[in-house]
Amino acid sequence: MATKSGNATALTVLSPIKNGTMGEISYADITRERCLRLPIHENSPLAKVPNTYLARLFILDDVFYESLPGSDSVFNFSDIFSFFSDQARRDALPKIDHLKSKYLVFSSNFHGDLNEYLAGMWENWTYNDQGIQHDVRYIWEHCVAFDEVTDCNSFISYIKRCQLDASLFFNGSTDDSLQEQLKALYLKQEFTKFVTTHQGKSAIEIQQAFKRFIERVQPENLSGPSWIPGQSNP
């Protein structure tokens, strides 16, 4: 059950990576390298996954040991016991935790239904790395039990097994579809150019020009001229 804010959805996926190596390189490092080599902006495979607002991938190697000093606002009885026992003082130090596997973390903010989104990942995720086209399996290839994924449905169930709920999802933007957002950005850009260019002109001139402007930019047509996902140049 992914977390929503209106129609915006937060997907958090932690997929355990197989322990072990392929030759002299670990599965985690292979996965990490593949992530680092993903092309960016409009060439990212995420640009092809419909309705992706912002998304990221990284490897969680381990958790951190909190050696920094802090001021815990929680009262601990150990604060008192430490006066009397060195063991109590030592026990009160933060414990050292270690993860037994590394995790591929995928966090996505997108519009709409989770199942549709995951199907979109399976069907549309594609990019070129060193001359070869890859799909979504190339990133998840070395995750535990990913070899059981053979089709769209098994991919969706796999991701759902790896999914975590958000306790708080803050939406500081909009929850419109990506197409809406991109079209709106395109219109903002184009209309700004229009109004500055036509400052001071006569009523007739502006009206005629505006009609031509509307024909060109087609404000209500989401498939008409617009920004492309990941567009990095004006």
Binding site: A10, N19, S73, G172, L178, T192, V195
Partner: protein, 217 residues
């Protein structure tokens, strides 16, 4: 390059939280969500696209197959993911100064959280627990969160104006047009690539662009 996608910066913070505090945090988040006034500062700051907190109970790490060793942890963990605009420093500073008590609210129960004021221990706490992103994607690298919100306003106003006024006689059209511009006067900022928030990130980006221009396929 990894933590930045145009005007957006990806921050990932992982911190341990006492297992019995998990429920208190969930409660706090619930309250925060149901009381918009709690988030007033966050909304006014306007720097964030989307942000989330995820709590992983210590037995909550996904376990998919018997061959995968089960996690055996003392603590539960809190994941914080943010997509924001500006540099790391600007972002963290904004929070410390604008909503210090809000920050404390969210991180209070984490192990050795130092409180958000004074600044440097808080900076250190976040940096220390931050993990770098390997791949970061924004659908609109040239747009800040402000731009996305502004664009929505422009689109609606433009479409409404078109229906109401495009066929009026020129003089009436002009009156409506001027009203439209007046209404949208705070929405006309240019959108172009971002100023550099990090020299090292920029250097990596320049090298990447150079390598792309040698790319052949």
């Amino acid at each position: 390059m990894s933590n930045i996608a145009g005007k957006a910066y990806a921050m990932n913070v992982v911190t341990p939280i006492r297992w019995y505090m998990v429920w208190i945090n969930r409660l706090i988040f619930k309250i925060a969500l149901s009381r918009p006034s709690t988030l007033k500062g966050l909304i006014t700051l306007s720097l964030i696209h989307y942000a989330r907190w995820v709590i992983i109970p210590k037995d909550g790490f996904p376990h998919l197959h018997p061959s995968q060793p089960k996690e055996n942890l003392h603590y539960s963990y809190m994941l914080f993911f943010s997509n924001f605009n500006g540099s790391w420093d600007q972002y963290v500073d904004s929070f410390t100064f604008a909503i210090p008590s809000g920050l404390d609210l969210f991180w209070k129960w984490n192990i050795r959280y130092p409180k958000s004021v004074p600044l440097t221990p808080f900076h250190d706490y976040i940096k220390y627990n931050q993990i770098d992103t390997a791949h970061y994607y924004s659908a609109y690298p040239m747009a800040a969160s402000n731009d996305v919100k502004s664009a929505k306003i422009v689109k609606k106003a433009l479409i409404d104006f078109k229906s109401a006024s495009i066929e009026k006689n020129p003089d009436e059209f002009l009156i409506d047009y001027n009203n439209l511009l007046n209404e949208l006067q705070l929405e006309f900022g240019e959108m172009r690539p971002t100023p550099i928030v990090s020299l090292s990130a920029d250097a990596v980006k320049q090298r990447y662009l150079q390598s792309q221009s040698h790319h052949y396929i």
